[in-house]
């Protein structure tokens, strides 16, 4: 009974977010149906698109937070995603495929949010400043994962707890772990090792 009530509240809350952004924030498009079990916060001048049938869950006290840092920023989230505690900070382009699942994690395509201060300290002269992030379909980003700029996570991959990816390419259906993430392990091999125990 309670779960039905929670679902109803989430659908109503999600519908409220869909209507609110369509009416008052023309750069943000959330497609119906959208289930919001936790707070959704989207701000910034860039464009954000969330496809249909997505759900936002509460994970470690956080819901969904998307911050675009420039008018050219584009965030695209695919259909049927389950986003829990996800924070996206985008200066260029962040895309997340369909059926992706996230726990409390951070996707940030730029090294620092305060561009003016970092440019004063000449960070941009020495290191790549911002680069797009592409996350494929059916990816699972587990707890406290951080995905930084110029990273591509292919379909069906899993980002292990605490993994931090920067300038990284993961093959499809692999387990990515480590800080910084180095070689990713094919999940079929992981299953084989587990079966052999």
């Amino acid at each position: 009974m309670r779960s039905h009530l929670d679902l109803l509240v989430a659908v109503l809350r999600g519908t409220w977010y869909v209507c609110f952004y369509r009416l008052f924030r023309r750069n943000v498009t959330i497609r119906f149906p959208f289930k919001a079990f936790a707070r959704v916060r989207i701000e910034g001048p860039g464009s954000v698109f969330v496809d249909r049938n997505c759900a936002v869950h509460l994970n470690v006290f956080k819901g969904l937070s998307i911050v675009t840092l420039s008018p050219e920023a584009r965030v695209r989230i695919g259909a049927r995603c389950n986003l829990g505690g996800l924070t996206i900070r985008c200066r260029t382009h962040v895309s997340i495929g369909d059926r992706t699942m996230t726990a409390v994690s951070l996707v940030q395509d730029t090294l620092f949010l305060d561009e003016e201060k970092a440019r004063e300290n000449r960070v941009a002269d020495r290191f790549p400043w911002a680069a797009p992030v592409a996350i494929g379909s059916n990816v699972w980003i587990t707890m406290q994962g951080i995905v930084l700029g110029d990273t591509r996570i292919e379909d069906d991959s899993v980002l292990a707890t605490g993994a931090v990816c920067c300038h990284y390419r993961a093959l499809p259906y692999t387990l990515v772990s480590g800080n910084p993430a180095k070689r990713s392990l094919p999940i079929s091999r992981v299953m084989h090792l587990v079966a052999r125990r």
Binding site: N179, R183, S184
Partner: protein
């Protein structure tokens, strides 16, 4: 408008600490954009033209400056920008000018020992545990700077880094534990 309000908040805060918190000094030009908490009986000195702010999109985090002992000292240089930075000092944390700290923790003690009793850690002292951060250091989101670390000038700490050893000037540090990298690129991941 926001800048004006932040500057006003900063001036009012400086007035307040001048009368009620003698161990806290803040230089002129302080701007407070979001909630700011400080606690403890130690001394805190903030330089000129500093910025205290939160993280965009997240109201639950804010700048905290905690001192755990009356002898503890936190020094923040001029033109620093703190975005939801949490600084905890039992001994001494000093930061030079033009630093940028985003959503990170700086702690100069382990709080507990790893033995079963979880007593206060042995072997900690000001000389061993103090944290020293140089000029123009940028610390990315969700990083931690641990005890006894000296960070040189012009260091960039990538998001998600746990800095447990000292860092020479001009480096780029990432990883857990933090290691200097010659560039931000790491191309051997799965290809």
């Amino acid at each position: 408008m926001k800048d004006w309000i932040a500057r006003l908040r900063g001036d009012l805060f400086r007035l307040r600490v001048r009368f009620f918190h003698k161990r806290f000094t803040a230089g002129p030009g302080l701007r407070i954009y979001r909630r700011f908490r400080f606690d403890g009986q130690g001394s805190v000195r903030i330089g000129r033209n500093c910025r205290i702010d939160g993280i965009r999109g997240d109201d639950s985090q804010y700048v905290c400056l905690d001192t755990l002992a009356p002898e503890a000292l936190i020094v923040i240089g001029d033109n620093a920008s703190l975005y939801a930075a949490r600084i905890v000092a039992k001994y001494q944390v000093t930061m030079q000018d033009d630093c940028l700290i985003e959503e990170s923790g700086i702690v100069d003690t382990d709080f507990h020992a790893i033995e079963r009793g979880r007593q206060a850690p042995a072997g900690e002292s000001k000389e061993a545990c103090r944290i020293s951060i140089g000029n123009r250091v940028c610390v990315g989101a969700r990083s931690c700077i641990l005890k006894g670390v000296t960070i040189g000038d012009d260091v960039v700490v990538a998001p998600g880094t746990i800095v447990s050893t000292s860092v020479r000037a001009g480096s780029f540090v990432r990883g857990n534990p933090g290691r200097c990298a010659t560039s931000t690129e790491d191309r051997d991941g799965g290809e």
